[in-house]
Amino acid sequence: MSGATSPHAGMTRRNFLKTAGVAAGALGLAGAASMTTADNWLAPAEAHADGEERVAHLCHQFHCLTGCNLKCTIRDERVSIIEPSDLAEESHQTICLRGIGEVDHIYAADRIQTPLKRVGERGEGKFEAISWDEAIQTIADAIKSAQEQYGEGSVFIRKSTEASIDFDFFGQLMKADSGGNWGLDRGQPNGTAAAFGAFSYCPNRSIHEFSDASTIIELGHNPLESGIVWSRALMDAKEAGVYIVTVDPRFTGTASKSNEWLPVLPGTDAALIQGMIRAIVDEGWYDEEFIKSKTSLPYLVDRETGKTYRSEDVMCPNPTVVGMLTVGAPYVWDEAEGKARLYNEEGVQPALEGTWTINGKEYTTEWTLLKEWISEYSVDWAAETCGIAKETIIALADRYANNGPAIIDFGLGGPDKYTNADVLGHSTSILVAITGNYGRKGSGMGFFGGVGVDDPAATVNYWTLPEGYGYTSCGTAMYDMPYNENPIHVALTFGDAFTLEAAAANDMLNWVKSLDFFAIIDIYHSSAVDYADIVLPACSKFESEENVKSLRASYGHVMLANNLIKPLFESKTDLQIERLLAAQWGLEDTLPETYEELARFMLDGVEELDPRMAGITYDALLQQGGCMALPETGPDYRPDGTADNLPTPSGKVELYYEYLTDWGHQFPVYTDANEAYASNPIKEQYPLYFMQGKSRYRIHAYYTACEWFQENFGPYVNISPEDAEARGIQTGDTVRVFNDRGEFKCGVHVNRSLQPGVLFMAETTYTRYYDEGFLQNVTNSHREDRQYDMYFGPQIPYNDVLVQIEKA
């Protein structure tokens, strides 16, 4: 092999040395001055080889959308090794660094060890240890007094993304407000819901069909860092020669593995898609057969009112997805008989284009209207708006339409977190439908990896509370509580909801400070803990008072956590904490007494409901170590999702959004993002786009506490060399990032992967690890009014943000 042409020609000894240290970049971490330090709480284990060992199994994370079964070796009652489970079906014996890092994370210094009571100001983080009795009593007193004074609706209880969310009993027992719309991850789904069905962001074909595609477009999705284990399917596709295109302002890991990287300007992805639609319509690259047989585009629309011509007697097969109204079956123009007939009548041959007068009204087809809509968007406009060359857009359209089957895999971070994400979702739906890239092998659209049909699903029973208990809602979502009048006086969260599930943190935390009382139940000293009056220590999923813990249906398996370690310090399981709280109202008997009771209940009689569950009983599961595969689980599982009988009113792909007529969005009108757009005048002051996204070292803020990861990673913002140089910023500096909403200080990496003009930071890290503040201080809390009419409501536009940065 010749050194000059070898792929590692750039490797010199110096290179190795340069990158030798564990911490390749500055960590810039403030020392974790925790009052809950775990330092030396365990005496070092002595004789290594004599320790007694046993093995535990459990389902790990579900927020990576994987839920691997993990095998834990427990020695001297300490979790010493975590590795892929040999109980899982072979192709499902997986793990990622986040599973392995638990060996440290379980014992991390940031663990909350005892119940705490605030002694300083809210936000100051000064606490003293108290007993469980006192803590539970204080929480119950606060809730009761609010309920008496202001009514049941004054209590807010929410389980955040990071607490154990196996169940959610206590909030319902209190008839508390759970904060309504989450506003997370449903930006594009707002735009795809009416077309393909509300949950069409969950693909109806397996991710393992990636290898059967000719082209995959990764639209703002970076599975290489988010759903790590799922990227195996993408790497299989890559090795099979599938052409991969990544659309992302940032040169992500996924982009680096792609044949083509299209660095769109932030928040302009919809322009790229609309440019592709225009090219496809102009060039006639659409799939007429699919359009006629599988979509709503032949339906007749009244030109004047914009309303679809519908039967008054014959109803659509499905209630409408968006309005929950029963609508009449639509008419098409039947070319065979030369008259309007119901779209699903026997032998009907729908015309795609034309204008007809029926009963004195002028009708045309959705397809004609679509062509009129897209005629307003030229490819030149698209190129200028999204920053991708015209020829590139046309070539991608050609490839996508003519070199199928093709898949669009869209992320639920990235472009989803701008106020125009619904426009993007709707545009993508049109692109997919007019090219027929849906419902056949190697095609599809959605967020691939874990939410779709990648694995067979199990059937389990769900524990229900007695009649009359349930969450309530004051009509204001949690994210809007700082801005809208609301009845909330007391809050209790399991895990950090306030800093993770809202932008513009100064507004949110000021509102939290204004509450009469706030208690948090958390495993770690997360960002919200400092604002709480009472803190309760929950244990990790590796700990339980009993032999078993959560029963989960995940990753094509039924998994029962078992043989775990006892709760560390004074922590307790979620179930026992919920029971202690419920007991203050005498309601503990509405809950299972133990995880065993819950698990037995969940599996009791499921075989009668679903024969596939035959043999998967509580006892069988335990006997087998706590992990059993469903019968179909395996490397060849490929559900046959089609484009027929979709959960839309007519069962076809419905691309004309009549329900958005008041907004003029029957077709997706291109709309700039709220803040992040090129001509925004505030760019004079705040010239840089600020994006956040996933890191392999986190699931949201979770794993901040892992000391192993802290050696590699901490809160730092990434900046392009151009932007850094203009500001005299170097890797290792401390920087201040700011806008009118707030500021924060942290470390910085000068990184070529950044598009000039764009900053990127991984979400997120407990605030104490920043030099000051944290990233949510600068993010945008705007709500797009149009989205109040959409299935998932307005979403939090975390990425729709402009800032300035300077050396601190």
Partner: protein
């Protein structure tokens, strides 16, 4: 003869660092040390890139002991603490190591780390495989090719845990092993071939 080794498919490697932490866990590696690192080639920040926007490239390179056939470290070790074992692995006899660090200077792959102080572990107990010896202050250490696991007939922990199956473990002396076939078919290469160390760890695209 047996020459145990690993081949790494760089096309499949996504730089996820799982192998680096799998190694740290299995081998009870103290704070501030790694036997296995995943570097972003040519970059001073993790997940950096080479080139000029928008013509960028990035590759990840997992590096640990290359288990050389002609180990530079062994040649300079004055006590014979570093040795080539009968399965073709480069190993260290910690009892014989006098902490002179000649091996560290000699290794072109920077594979070795040193216990300058009393090793600190987080969490503060001996985690990992119970067969793995606990190293004292003053000795060098590095990837053992998971000696304890491979002696039991298991694959190294980094191979077991790699989410994309980028790593293949096996015997180079067995022409029918998967690793031997991959090396032949995929035109695998070694790092710093010009050093003459003859690494057994191979890479391919």
């Amino acid at each position: 003869m047996t020459r145990l080794a690993i081949a790494i498919n760089k096309t499949r490697c996504i730089g996820c660092q799982t192998c680096a932490f799998a190694c740290k866990m299995q081998n009870n590696v103290p704070e501030g040390m790694r036997w296995n690192r995943v570097i972003t080639e040519g970059c001073d920040v993790e997940d950096g890139a080479l080139g000029t926007y928008p013509n960028l490239s990035r590759s990840y390179l997992p590096i640990a002991c290359q288990h050389c056939e002609n180990p530079a470290c062994q040649r300079v070790c004055p006590t014979g603490a570093t040795y080539k074992d009968d399965k073709g692995r480069v190993e260290i006899d910690y009892d014989k190591c006098i902490g002179c660090r000649m091996c560290m200077a000699a290794c072109p792959y920077n594979a070795r780390v040193f216990n300058w102080n009393e090793p600190v572990r987080k969490p503060d107990f001996n985690f990992g495989d119970k067969e793995v010896p606990v190293r004292p202050k003053g000795v060098a250490e590095k990837c053992t090719l998971c000696k304890e696991r491979t002696d039991r007939g298991e694959e190294p922990m980094c191979v077991r845990c790699c989410p994309t199956k980028a790593r293949t473990y096996g015997d180079l002396d067995d022409p029918n092993s998967e690793i031997s076939k991959l090396i032949a078919e995929r035109h695998a290469y070694v790092l710093l071939e010009e050093q003459g160390t003859k690494p057994q760890v191979h890479y391919f695209e």
